[in-house]
C-alpha cells in the first residue's frame, strides 16, 4: 500500500516538476510580448544578439494581439511584460486603458533615423513604429483590370474575388478604401459594408487567414483579393500573372508599434532593447529576410528585396492609414454592421 501511494506521489511530483524551468535569481530578465510571426528569424537576428549585449535573459511571449492585450490588462497591477509589439490601434487602446507609459525617446539613438510616420504614430508619445505595410489588391492581370478599389465589386469580377473579413487586420483598411472609391467615406464604413453586402453571395469567401489565399489563387478559385504587402512573396512565386494593383484612390495599410508597460521594473533594459530593434543593423537584417519592412530610413536593400517589402520614404508617406482613434471608436460598430449586412 505504502509503495503504491509513494509511487503515485512520485509520478505527481515528476509531472509538476517538469513544468517548471529553473530561473537564475541573479540574472536580469526582460519580458517582451510579440506577434507569433517568424520567431526563428527574430531569435537569430534580434533576441540572441541582444542577450549577448545586455547580459540579460529575454523572455518572449507570443500570441495574437487581442489575447496579449487581455493578458496585460489582467496583470495591470503587477505587470509581467515590459515591452510589447502591437498594432497602432491596439497601442491606443492600451494607452486609453492606462496600461502603458510615455516613451523617453531621448534615450533612443535610432529614433532620429525613423521615418516621420513611425516616430509617434498616434500623436501621444506612447508608441514608436518598428514596421509598416501597404495593403492593396493582388490580382490576375490576364483576367481583369484593377484601377479602383470599386472595380473588385464589378458584376463580372465579384464572383472571382476574396474579401478580407472585417475582423482581420486587412478588413477595415480595405473597406476604408472602398468607401473612398464609392465616395461614401464615413468613419462607420457603412457605405462600403453595404456595397460588399450587396455582392456577398457572389464573393467567393471572406477570408480570415491570408495564407489560405495562395491556394485559392493557384486553383483559380479566385482572381483577386486585398492583401497586406507582407504576404505578397508567395503570390509572386505562383508562376501566374499576378500583379500588385495601384488603385487611383491609393494604397492603405497598417503599422506595428512598440509600447512600454506602465509599472515595468526594467524600463532601461526595455528602452535598450527597443533601440536595438530599431537600429539600422537589425532593421536591415529583418528587411533582407523579408520579415519586416523597415521603419528606419537609413536601411538600404536590393531592388529584389525592396520589391517584396513596403519600402521607401515615398511609399511610407503615400499610405492612407485609418487613424487609430477612428479604428478604436468604430471597431465594435464595424463588426456589428458587417454581421448584420454581410455575415448572414
Amino acid at each position: 500500500m505504502k509503495k503504491v501511494v509513494f509511487a503515485s506521489g512520485a509520478v505527481l511530483m515528476l509531472t509538476l516538476g517538469s513544468a517548471q524551468t529553473p530561473v537564475l535569481a541573479q540574472e536580469k530578465t526582460l519580458t517582451i510580448s510579440v506577434y507569433a510571426l517568424a520567431q526563428d528569424e527574430y531569435k537569430q537576428i534580434v533576441y540572441d544578439p541582444f542577450e549577448k549585449i545586455c547580459g540579460c535573459k529575454l523572455v518572449v511571449e507570443t500570441g495574437n494581439s487581442v489575447e496579449r492585450l487581455a493578458k496585460m490588462e489582467a496583470n495591470k497591477a503587477n505587470p509581467v511584460v515590459d515591452l510589447a509589439a502591437v498594432s497602432m490601434a491596439d497601442a491606443l487602446a492600451a494607452s486609453r486603458a492606462g496600461l502603458i507609459d510615455k516613451i523617453d525617446t531621448a534615450k533612443l539613438q535610432s529614433f532620429d533615423k525613423l521615418y516621420d510616420i513611425a516616430k509617434d504614430p498616434n500623436g501621444d508619445g506612447m508608441s514608436v513604429g518598428y514596421t509598416f505595410y501597404a495593403t492593396s489588391i493582388a490580382y490576375r492581370s490576364d483576367k481583369m483590370k484593377i484601377e479602383s478599389w470599386a472595380d473588385l465589386l464589378k458584376p463580372e469580377y465579384a464572383s472571382h474575388i476574396a474579401w478580407p473579413n472585417v475582423t482581420t487586420n486587412q478588413g477595415p483598411p480595405a473597406l476604408y478604401m472602398l468607401g473612398q472609391a464609392l465616395g461614401k467615406d464615413t468613419p462607420d464604413l457603412k457605405g462600403a459594408i453595404e456595397a460588399v453586402g450587396e455582392s456577398k453571395d457572389d464573393i467567393v469567401t471572406f477570408y480570415e487567414k491570408s495564407s489560405q489565399l495562395v491556394q485559392l489563387m493557384k486553383q483559380e478559385e479566385i482572381w483577386a483579393a486585398p492583401i497586406g504587402r507582407f504576404t505578397w512573396a508567395p503570390f509572386a512565386k505562383l508562376g501566374l500573372p499576378v500583379a500588385w494593383a495601384m488603385p487611383k484612390e491609393g494604397q492603405t495599410g497598417g503599422m506595428n508599434v512598440m509600447i512600454l508597460t506602465k509599472g515595468s521594473k526594467n524600463r532601461d533594459l526595455a528602452l535598450q532593447f527597443m533601440d536595438f530593434w530599431l537600429s539600422t543593423e537589425v532593421q536591415t537584417k529583418l528587411a533582407e529576410k523579408m520579415i519586416d519592412s523597415p521603419a528606419n530610413r537609413q536601411v538600404k536593400v536590393s531592388d529584389e528585396v525592396a520589391g517584396n517589402l513596403t519600402y521607401g520614404e515615398e511609399t511610407a508617406k503615400s499610405l492612407k492609414l485609418i487613424p487609430s482613434a477612428v479604428a478604436l471608436d468604430n471597431r465594435a460598430g464595424w463588426v456589428k454592421s458587417w454581421n448584420e449586412t454581410v455575415g448572414q
Binding site: 500500500m1 503504491v4 501511494v5 503515485s8 509520478v11 505527481l12 509531472t15 495574437n64 487581442v66 489575447e67 492585450l69 487581455a70 464572383s159 473579413n165 475582423t167 456577398k200 464573393i203 467567393v204 469567401t205 471572406f206 477570408y207 480570415e208 489560405q212 491556394q215 485559392l216 486553383q219 483559380e220 478559385e221 463588426v335 454581421n339 448584420e340 455575415g343 448572414q344
Partner: protein, 280 residues
C-alpha cells in the same frame, strides 16, 4: 482486484488530481463567466443577449441543422456499409474495417484541405459534372453549407460505421432469416428486427457523430469560413478577434448542453421503442 479501497483510490489519485486541476476547474471557471453579472451577482443576461441577436440565431440553427443532417445521413450510409462489412469473410472483414478506420488516423487538417482541391472550381467534382454534361459552368461548392456537410460527413462517418458493425455483430445470426421466413418484407425486417437490436450502436454512433459535428472547428473554418459560420467558428471569432470571453463562454455552454441533450434524446428514442414493443 484490489485488497482494499485505499489502494484503488491511491492509484486513481494522480489521474483524478490531474483531471480536476487542468480540466474540471478551468471549465467551471470558464462557464461561470457566462453567468456573472459585471455589477456583481449572477444573471442569465448574456444568454438572452446571445439569442436575441439574429446572426447568433442563424448560426445556432445552422449548427443544429447540419449536425442533425450529418447524423441522419451517416446513419443511413453507415447501416448499408456495416451490413456489407459484417457479411464478409473474417479476413476480408478485417481489411475493410481497417480501410474504414484509416481516415481517422490522418490529420483532419490534411483531409479538409484535400476537399478544397476536390470541390474547387477546377477540381475533380466540377470536371466530372462538366464532362457528364450535368452543368455547363463550374458549380460553386466551396464556402457553402454543402461543403461543410461533405467535410463533416467524411470526417465522422467511420465512427458511425464502426459502432454499427459491432452492434450488428452482436445481433443473433438467425434473427433476419427468421423474420423473413415469417413473412416480413425487408423494410419490416430493418424497422422491427434490426433497428431495435442494434439501437445501442446507433445511439453511440449518433452521439459521436452529432457531438463531433457540433464541436468540429477545422472543417467549418476551412470549408465554410466566415461566410458560413458555425457555433465553433463563431466562438473562435469571439475569443480571438473580439476578445469577448463572455460570449465565447455562452457558446461553450450551449455546445455542452446540445451534446448532452442529443445523447439523452437518442437514448430516450431507443427506450421508447422498447416500451412500444413490450406493450405491443
Amino acid at each position: 482486484m484490489f485488497q482494499n479501497r485505499a489502494e484503488a483510490l491511491a492509484l486513481a489519485l494522480p489521474a483524478a488530481i490531474f483531471a480536476a486541476a487542468v480540466f474540471l476547474v478551468p471549465v467551471i471557471i470558464l462557464l461561470s463567466d457566462g453567468f456573472r453579472d459585471p455589477v456583481g451577482g449572477w444573471t442569465i443576461s448574456a444568454y438572452t443577449d446571445f439569442f436575441s441577436n439574429s446572426l447568433n440565431q442563424t448560426v445556432f440553427l445552422r449548427t443544429l441543422r447540419l449536425g442533425a443532417i450529418v447524423t441522419v445521413v451517416s446513419a443511413v450510409i453507415g447501416y448499408a456499409a456495416a451490413f456489407a462489412i459484417v457479411s464478409l469473410e473474417p479476413a476480408t472483414k478485417g481489411k475493410i474495417t481497417g480501410l474504414v478506420v484509416l481516415p481517422l488516423m490522418i490529420s483532419p487538417v490534411a483531409r479538409t484541405y484535400a476537399w478544397i482541391v476536390i470541390l474547387g472550381r477546377t477540381g475533380i467534382v466540377n470536371q466530372a459534372f462538366q464532362a457528364l454534361g450535368i452543368t455547363d459552368a463550374p458549380l460553386r461548392i466551396l464556402f457553402s453549407e454543402t461543403a461543410i456537410f461533405i467535410g463533416l460527413l467524411q470526417l465522422f462517418l467511420p465512427l458511425m460505421i464502426i459502432s454499427l458493425i459491432s452492434a450488428l455483430e452482436n445481433m443473433p445470426k438467425d434473427a433476419i432469416p427468421a423474420a423473413r421466413v415469417l413473412g416480413a418484407n425487408w423494410f419490416q425486417v430493418f424497422w422491427k428486427v434490426v433497428l431495435p437490436l442494434t439501437k445501442e450502436g446507433l445511439v453511440i454512433g449518433g452521439t459521436l457523430v452529432f457531438t463531433g459535428s457540433l464541436t468540429a472547428y477545422i472543417t467549418p473554418a476551412i470549408l465554410g469560413g466566415s461566410k458560413v459560420l458555425m457555433l465553433e467558428t463563431l466562438m473562435y471569432q469571439q475569443v480571438s478577434v473580439s476578445g469577448n470571453f463572455v460570449a465565447a463562454s455562452v457558446i461553450a455552454f450551449i455546445l455542452i448542453v446540445m451534446s448532452f441533450a442529443a445523447n439523452i434524446l437518442l437514448k430516450r428514442v431507443a427506450t421508447a421503442r422498447n416500451k412500444v414493443r413490450s406493450q405491443g
